[in-house]
């Protein structure tokens, strides 16, 4: 059984799943940047008391699952989302969906994901893919990160659906419940909602660790890493930062470029000239994040490593924070047509 489903590649897995499933459900306007922006995907958080893979816990995007939920909700499309206790039940419901012609989004862990290169297989459980059919024992898989559709045996799929640890997917599957076209007016409204929510996320979350203040907080901490952790561990921490920022899924520059692309697309729906200017600011910020990554690489490769070099890292991050703060303030002041 193979559903009539179009695999599309995306920068980020959840954006990709959201885009492909919504397109399948008749939302022809949706693109990856629109899904990301409407779902208010841009974020920053640095959780100093938490460790991931023995390194710092840093995220450049919103919590897993939210982009899909928010985007569907903004477009008035009901969402089905289920978790399972039993593996048999999880496969049974999956098969029922496929039999009903419904491609299904699944949250999975990447450690046992056989088609991923070994180097990428850490215990990371918030990856997303779409199952769109089954032939013999092979489930047909559309993984948004991959250029081509691929497949997993039923054992392999069960294993990644029931990966354990932080964010354990517990067989989680999800899909839009209704097939329906969406009007441009709905998209316009959704864009506005998405932007306003993102302004709140980046500017108005109390406490020092999230949003723009989170970037500055990490900039300050990085300035202390060399003394506190020693050069080697500080290098490993910076390597982790770069991976979170640039590795598969961010589209480059810690999602800042996708967000800039979103604002450009937003302009085609709302002819507000500020959107274009603000888009350019996010491009600039993304470029600074990339320069910071190059600086970090110099440190973790041991080419440079003085305190001054760490200070340059902090300066880059503060520069990004300045730009993004202005950009979000400008977004919050946009006069949306009624």
């Amino acid at each position: 059984m193979k559903l009539d489903f179009q695999h599309t590649q995306a920068a980020h897995c959840e954006n990709g799943v959201t885009t492909s499933l919504l397109r399948h459900h008749g939302v022809n306007q949706i693109t990856e940047p629109l899904a990301f922006g409407i779902g208010s995907g841009l974020f920053f958080i640095y959780i100093p008391f938490m460790k991931i893979n023995n390194g710092p816990a840093i995220a450049f995007r919103t919590q897993p699952g939210l982009i899909f939920n928010r985007t569907c909700k903004a477009l008035d499309i009901p969402v089905a989302r289920k978790k399972f206790r039993s593996k048999e039940e999880a496969e049974k419901i999956l098969m029922e969906c496929l039999a009903a012609g419904q491609p299904v989004g699944c949250q999975v862990g990447v450690y046992y994901l056989t088609y991923f290169p070994k180097e990428y297989r850490f215990h990371f459980n918030a990856h997303n893919l779409i199952v769109f059919g089954k032939e013999d024992d092979q489930f047909l898989i559309s993984d948004p990160v991959m250029e081509m559709a691929t497949s997993l045996s039923s054992y392999e799929l069960e294993r990644v659906r029931f990966a354990k640890g932080a964010f354990a997917p517990r067989g989680q599957l999800y899909y839009p419940k209704e097939k329906k076209a969406v009007t441009d007016e709905q998209i316009r409204k959704a864009i506005k909602t998405g932007i306003n929510r993102n302004v709140n996320l980046m500017l108005r979350i109390p406490g020092p660790i999230a949003g723009i203040r989170g970037i500055r907080f990490m900039a300050k901490k990085i300035g202390q890493w060399r003394d506190k952790l020693g050069p080697k561990k500080a290098g490993s921490y910076l390597a982790q930062l770069v991976r979170m920022q640039e590795e598969i899924g961010t589209g480059g520059g810690g999602f800042r470029f996708i967000y800039a692309a979103f604002l450009q697309e937003a302009y085609t729906y709302h002819q507000i000239p500020e959107l274009i200017d603000i888009s350019k600011q996010f491009t600039k910020s993304g470029d600074i994040w990339r320069s910071a990554a190059v600086q970090a690489a110099g440190i973790y490769k041991g080419r440079i490593g003085s305190q001054a070099d760490f200070n340059v890292m902090s300066d880059y991050l503060n520069a990004s924070a300045d730009i993004e703060k202005q950009a979000f303030q400008a977004l919050s002041k946009i006069k949306w047509p009624a």
């Binding site: 590649q9 995306a10 920068a11 990856e32 940047p33 893979n53 023995n54 390194g55 450690y111 088609y115 991923f116 290169p117 070994k118 180097e119 990428y120 850490f122 215990h123 990160v145 991959m146 250029e147 081509m148 354990k164 640890g165 932080a166 354990a168 290098g235 490993s236 910076l238 390597a239 982790q240 770069v242 991976r243 640039e246 590795e247 598969i248 589209g251 480059g252 520059g253 470029f257 996708i258 800039a260 692309a261 450009q264 697309e265 888009s279 491009t283 993304g286 470029d287 990339r290 990554a293 190059v294 970090a296 690489a297 973790y300 490769k301």
Partner: protein, 135 residues
């Protein structure tokens, strides 16, 4: 990032698939281009794996010194931590922590050993001796 500045440094993922990157074209519009990788990223990944490798070595030595049980070695080898080992084996975290002690491990029941061996994808014999043949 401008379209012509997108790095194409072949990395581990690039051998399997290009990744979508968002770049600005000549007329200032966003577009997507596939990248084979970026040296800055692949060296970050290398650092991460080197750290893993060192933790495995350190764990191996600790077990030889009888300061830790082979569970520690396999936990590092499989890039796991205590909560992950606990979740996969079904033991409580405090139990896993105890089993990391060499003396406690020696007294572990056959079924307990089998549970660990299964999760680490080795035989009970390999679990005890840390002799695994892997490439």
């Amino acid at each position: 990032m401008k379209k012509d500045e997108l790095p194409q440094d072949l990395g581990a993922l690039g051998k399997i698939t290009g990744e979508v990157c968002y770049v600005v074209d000549e007329s200032g519009n966003y577009t997507t281009v596939l990248s084979n990788g970026w040296e800055v990223k692949s060296s970050a990944l290398e650092v991460a794996w080197k750290d893993v490798e060192q933790r495995i070595q350190a764990a191996h030595q600790k077990v030889l010194n009888k300061e830790a049980s082979p569970i520690l070695f396999f936990m590092e080898l499989r890039v796991m931590d205590i909560p992950i080992v606990a979740a996969y084996t079904g033991f409580w975290k405090w139990q896993v922590k105890r089993h990391l002690k060499y003396k406690v491990f020696e007294k572990l029941s056959a079924s307990g050993l089998a549970r660990y061996a299964e999760v680490f994808e080795v035989s009970v014999e390999e679990l005890k001796t840390m002799k695994v043949d892997e490439t």
